[in-house]
């Protein structure tokens, strides 16, 4: 069939249905192929991202293990499962990191929190947020030093009631024009410290490489 004959059929419903169906089928198969091809590299990139973030909150001297491999999942106060990355030296937990989430001005703020075994903050880094650029984004370490002020603090230092922004009678600076964002981060970090305090025994229990690969999940229930 030559092109002209095909073109004459364009008015027919059959041609149009086939065209539409064919386009969708082609698009779907392209997407399936692309998804399969890119799934492994994307997972790899995300693991690299996570490792890079973990490296910012857990110093390399505190672990000799692969942080992503020694993950433990514990339920928090609301029952949500929290993945906790543990830094081990010779099977002993030296530090841990997990993600806490605050309700910011424009959505969730995900913060990665690194703690030593005494519950002192080794570092905190914002992983993702939707706060106003130029105002709320000062919580990013790339934009301001604000988040570094938490290093070394713990639930007793300052005392729990002072874990708030200055406007609420606490110890932490808010930003001019943005109070909700830092308030959310402070609240999220305090929540993380509470979570650690409630689960400390489980979290810092000595582990071996074999049981670390998931055996602790049973303890969580």
């Amino acid at each position: 069939m030559n092109l002209l004959a095909v073109l004459k059929q364009r008015q027919s419903v059959a041609y149009q249905s086939l065209l539409l169906g064919g386009t969708v089928a082609l698009a779907a198969s392209l997407l399936v192929v692309a998804d399969r091809v890119t799934r492994a590299p994307i997972a790899q990139r995300h693991a690299e991202d996570m490792n890079a973030s973990l490296a910012q909150v857990i110093p390399p001297t505190l672990h000799d293990n692969d942080l992503l491999a020694n993950m433990l999942t514990l339920p928090d106060a609301d029952g949500t499962a929290i993945p906790v990355y543990r830094a081990l030296v010779a099977g002993q937990v030296r530090a841990l990191a997990f993600q806490v989430t605050g309700r910011g001005y424009a959505g969730d703020i995900d913060v990665l929190l690194g703690l030593d075994t005494d519950g002192r903050i080794l570092g905190a880094r914002v992983l993702a947020h939707k706060e106003t650029p130029g105002l709320g984004d000062k919580i990013e370490v790339a934009k301001a030093d604000w988040i570094l002020a938490f290093n070394g603090l713990s639930l007793g230092h300052p005392p729990p009631e002072r874990w708030a922004v200055k406007k609420d009678g606490g110890d932490f600076d808010q930003f001019s024009g943005a109070t909700i964002t830092p308030r959310a981060v402070v609240k999220a970090l305090k929540g993380g410290l509470d979570f650690f305090a409630a689960n400390r025994a489980l979290l810092i229990a000595p582990t071996t490489e074999s049981e670390a690969s998931g055996g602790h999940d049973d303890n969580a229930h």
Partner: protein, 236 residues
């Protein structure tokens, strides 16, 4: 515009460029794509990122649509275009995420927004479906560059007024070598919040549109004066 005929119409490069960059500019002329425009132009850098990502998708989608324009039945053209564009955007998103991850971290937000950019469907419908692949590619490029230009101007206006900086974060988008673009224009500036929030986007856009009308009116007046002076029957 040209209608589909059997003979190849001459490509009017100059006219396509002028349309895309100024007279029929996506934002200033067609008033399309305002949702992503107002959403991302808090800074000039964000505008640039959105503009470049859109330019790439627009150029390729225009070429695709032009390539299959003779096969498309007019009655179902819109869903076909939409499926094509959405597929293309998703492929770009997956590809960048897997193989250009650093770029994706910066542009990822914008790529998802391109799907809802009606300017791309608009160009498929009003240009690519009636023109050759080459002309459509050029049209996509020019429309995209015009869009990018306006996003950068809009983002720059809002950023300078809103936070006193220009091209903040450019080194994240373009690499550390472009860090010199990041200017801190007003030291100790406390910021003007409205400019960065969505209402500021509407205000800045309104100023831009007014500016285009003023310039167009000046050009028009100048042209009329020129024709008047060259016309011997009218006194100068």
């Amino acid at each position: 515009m040209t209608t589909p005929t059997n003979r190849q119409p001459l490509i009017q490069w100059g006219r396509i460029a002028r349309d895309g960059l100024w007279s029929n500019n996506v934002i200033l002329g067609q008033l399309l794509a305002l949702c992503p425009t107002l959403a991302v132009t808090g800074t000039a850098t964000n505008g640039l990122g959105m503009g470049l990502a859109t330019t790439a998708v627009l150029t390729v989608s225009n070429m695709l649509v032009a390539a299959i324009r003779h096969l498309i039945a007019p009655e179902v053209r819109i869903p076909v275009y939409i499926v094509l564009i959405a597929t293309l955007v998703t492929l770009v998103d997956l590809g960048l995420n897997a193989y250009a991850h650093e770029l994706h971290k910066v542009l990822g937000l914008f790529i998802a927004l391109i799907v809802v950019n009606c300017a791309i469907l608009g160009r498929a419908e009003s240009f690519a479906s009636k023109n050759t692949v080459l002309a459509s590619a050029f049209d996509g490029l020019m429309m995209g560059l015009g869009f990018t230009l306006m996003l950068v101007v809009l983002g720059g206006m809002r950023e300078i007024i809103g936070s006193g900086t220009l091209f903040a974060g450019a080194s994240l988008l373009l690499g550390p070598a472009m860090g010199f673009l990041e200017l801190h224009l007003i030291p100790d500036y406390r910021g003007f919040l409205v400019s960065i929030l969505p209402p500021g986007g509407f205000l800045a856009l309104g100023l831009l549109l007014a500016g285009k009308r003023v310039i167009d009116a000046r050009i028009h007046a100048a042209q009329q004066r020129r024709t008047a002076t060259t016309d011997p029957t009218t006194p100068a």
